[in-house]
Symmetry: C2
């Protein structure tokens, strides 16, 4: 089948990107496209043209979208669903004439929000019915999500990726953590942070000092910094993952690091392909939407 046979379009519309797939009714991908027209770069009246331009060669069918496109700064705000609730809300928000946006999730206390990850969670659960446990979605803002009885019970965001980028780009460690990687350094950082989380603040500048005094290689410093931050995250989220079944949904390298770090804490985790989860979630949302119309 070609894209001409598409009956709907799946869209993952985040802050920095727009990705679309021409889909058959049964959930088969017929074609795919992407652009840098993320929510962060568009004004309110730029969303419809961006979507139309990227899908110009495809039928003008309904679009099911997830991500920051539904935020207050996005195309049209899709109000959050409050946990505990199913990952996938039954009410989508219409933006423009044909784009149906999946709402994000919010938690009252501790205050927390997500947009986009709820669709990956729904996709994972549609592929793994009756799965209970904790889902970790690594990224700029990593999410830890407790799932039980087909509902999101609670979740916790840790901005580890955001911190790593800010520290390596905009502090004195930019001189010490330029590039490269060292698996042993990563694991040492994880261990140090988990063993003595209260020491974290004192360990960062040491990476710089060890470079000056002991010629610590940049690759080791960079990997150890990443390990310290991931270890601090694991220390903070221990009530989530300890003794639980764990799935890590994410793209290759980063998700692999979380699986490695958890494994070192005797917490085995299963890695799940992020794109597959996203598409399964959008497909589940499409089916639910179609059943209602």
């Amino acid at each position: 089948m070609s894209a001409a046979a598409a009956t709907w379009i799946a869209a993952d519309w985040g802050t920095t990107h727009l990705r679309v797939w021409a889909m058959s009714d049964s959930g088969t991908v017929l074609a795919a496209a992407g652009s840098a027209d993320g929510m962060g770069t568009l004004t309110r009246d730029g969303f419809a043209p961006a979507l139309d331009a990227l899908t110009a060669d495809w039928p003008a069918v309904p679009v099911i979208a997830c991500g920051m496109v539904g935020s207050r700064q996005g195309w049209t705000e899709a109000p959050y669903s409050a946990v505990p609730c199913p990952a996938l809300a039954s009410n989508l928000t219409l933006a423009g004439t044909r784009c149906h946006i999946i709402p994000g999730l919010k938690q009252a206390s501790p205050a927390d929000v997500m947009r986009g990850e709820e669709t990956q969670i729904a996709g994972f659960l549609s592929l793994n019915p009756r799965w209970d446990g904790v889902i970790c979605l690594p990224g700029t803002h990593t999410k830890w999500v407790h799932v039980s009885a087909d509902e999101v019970v609670s979740f916790q965001t840790v901005m580890t990726g955001d911190l790593f980028a800010a520290i390596t780009g905009h502090t004195v460690l930019r001189h010490s953590c330029t590039d490269g990687w060292d698996d042993a350094g990563f694991l040492q950082g994880v261990d140090d942070a988990i063993a003595r989380p209260e020491k974290l603040a004192a360990r960062l500048f040491s990476l710089r000092a060890e470079g000056l005094l002991n010629d610590l290689p940049n690759a080791t410093a960079r990997a150890r910094l990443s390990g310290l931050l991931v270890g601090a995250e694991l220390a903070a989220t221990k009530p989530y993952w300890l003794g639980q079944q764990i799935a890590v949904i994410g793209a290759g390298t980063l998700a692999g690091l979380y699986v490695t770090a958890l494994g070192a804490q005797a917490a085995p985790a299963t890695q799940v392909n992020a794109d597959r989860a996203t598409l399964a979630g959008l497909t589940a949302a499409y089916r639910s939407w179609k059943d209602q119309t």
Copy 2:
């Protein structure tokens, strides 16, 4: 007396600034000047002209300098003294024809370095002979320094100021921590971080989420972030300050925050004027240098 009577010049030459004072032999300030010709903005052959330009109206007398001017990227490297040792080394490093640079301090394990603070420590000790305890020097890279029997025994750098700037400038919290201040928010952050330091990583994104969901004011989020980072620093440096006599050397607002945060932990600290400590340290170095020549 006017600057024409100066017998030496005191210089505090950091990464972002150059400050100079025309001094009498007895340590009286006759004139002062400053520029943005910090080490970070100068190439190696730019130091002498920058100094000469700023002191052109003063006699061409010897200069005693402290700070990053003596780093590897500075004018001439003044090799570190290794602790335990007196704050003020007896060997200054000559740069150009008349600038004598005070060496910084290094510590082998845990690896750490300082440049400039050793002069403030020496100044404080010259004003407070036989003082034992812990000196905190807040800044971009805050130093915690254990002093006993007129020597620096050990020290610990925590890059709290650097982290605060990177987080408020270059992560998602830049939307939530733009400006303003709230003393209660600061103290809450300190308490939260000290009570449960392992939770730090999970608490940062909450500042954003509370803004989105509960209209947390920017001023409160910003102060609470500062409190969380200072609290994490106090948790990491507890072996330094617990049960010790504490002096905080620094400029008004920031040093005051540390005194407040320590006070909330039942650790009373004395605030010391930073400029006074710097000038006293440079004066002590001048006297020692003059005695040798």
